[in-house]
Symmetry: C2
Subunit: 242 residues, 2 copies
């Protein structure tokens, strides 16, 4: 079973205080980039893998989705998602994405935000998802960028007067244990190539790959984000089920 | 016009001494990975963009290619390629890939090894190439990995007792001037996402993306290559013309 870090009180408390938890999609720096590659959600049967507090599920319902199934491992998150969702087209369920089972050809769109880096067996997940999507369906997800996740010490460093992201072990895939909001958070590093090849092997056509950077407007509003141009924090992938 | 660094005497002399120049394909560490994703070359009409000394052109002729057109900006390289090639199915020509023109639907396979990072306008190049390939043709190429090319100082550094690749400016695309074999070599950094999206926009389906790492056999033979696991030096992409 995947580590259920979100139900550890210290982590949950920390996560609940992040801008994206307080302000929802608009509080997520990468949201505008994600929205730009979403298909029309109107009339779609949608599954959201790692739905958290349900911000995207409610957005999709507002956009006219026929149905939204939000799945998350965290009981705390599902409880809050249910409490904050009124739309009858949205359902939530607790699910471990490492052991996901879904009905075949039951969805027109799959979405996931910053969840798959917690998954040990990505190949199994995308095969399951491919079977669960109807032909022509699309799939949009974000993960922590592998360049962000790979280093043994994922923190800025100073080298020769420059602020750099000190990369090591990028080509060594597998678990990474870091301290983020709580101690001992386990994530699974895969190269960008491995992620793309798993999607292609499962039967997805790659439509868009974006190594997220702050927009010029965001940099004007947050000059301290300039350092984020040194390496991507997020990876955004859009693909089509063929 | 692209910088013709290969015809500068110091660079050409240095390049001519590299293992890949002396031993050909077998002297290139990434060759086995490239060969693994090549289609059958038998009967194919092939264009090789940045053919250098013609090692791949002769390999393709030996594999039964119907024709091979090797293109390179360097007069020195084309001269040596011609001198070392006996096969009547191979032709060479001097060409600036930044202003490439090719006949439409005239090729079944396109190949390029470590040339496109010298190209300023990659989008134009892949559009031209898409038009020059027949439907169903494939395209395999390597470039310096953008992670290798991005930093302002692309050299190993020591941080906290670890050997790291100090990344900065990854999300700032554009020229990079480095000293490699000669001073002032100009390369053009694009993110991996930008490279893939340009291919997709031009009409290619991504088939394989590989961030090259030494094989276990290579690491056993060259223990000093262990450091190469910290970041990929090469990027290998295979795609299909749709």
């Amino acid at each position: 079973m995947a580590q259920n870090i979100y139900d550890q009180p210290a982590f949950f408390e920390g996560y609940s205080g992040l801008p994206r938890s307080v302000h929802g999609l608009a509080g997520a720096a990468e949201w505008e980039s994600v929205r730009a590659v979403l298909p029309s959600l109107e009339g779609k049967r949608i599954v959201d893998l790692g739905c958290g507090f349900g911000w995207f599920a409610r957005y999709a319902a507002d956009e006219g989705a026929a149905s939204v199934l939000g799945l998350d491992l965290s009981e705390n998150m599902i409880a809050r998602a249910k409490a904050e969702t009124a739309s009858p087209s949205v359902r939530y369920a607790i699910a471990d994405l490492d052991h996901l089972e879904l009905p075949e050809s039951d969805f027109d769109f799959a979405y996931s935000s910053l969840a798959f880096h917690y998954i040990a067996d990505f190949e199994r997940l995308v095969r399951t998802l491919h079977a669960a999507l109807a032909t022509g369906a699309s799939f949009v997800f974000t993960i922590e960028h592998p360049l962000y996740m790979a280093p043994s010490e994922p923190n800025w460093a100073e080298v020769g007067g420059r602020t750099v992201w000190p990369v090591d072990g990028y080509l060594v895939e597998g678990p990474r244990t870091t301290d983020w909001l709580a101690k001992g958070v386990v994530k699974y590093h895969r190269t960008l190539g491995t992620t793309l090849n798993a999607l292609i092997a499962a039967g997805f056509a790659i439509r868009h790959v974006e190594e997220w950077r702050p927009s010029d407007a965001q940099l004007a509003e947050h000059p301290e984000w300039q350092v984020e141009l040194n390496r991507p924090m997020f990876l955004l992938i859009a693909c089509d089920r063929i």
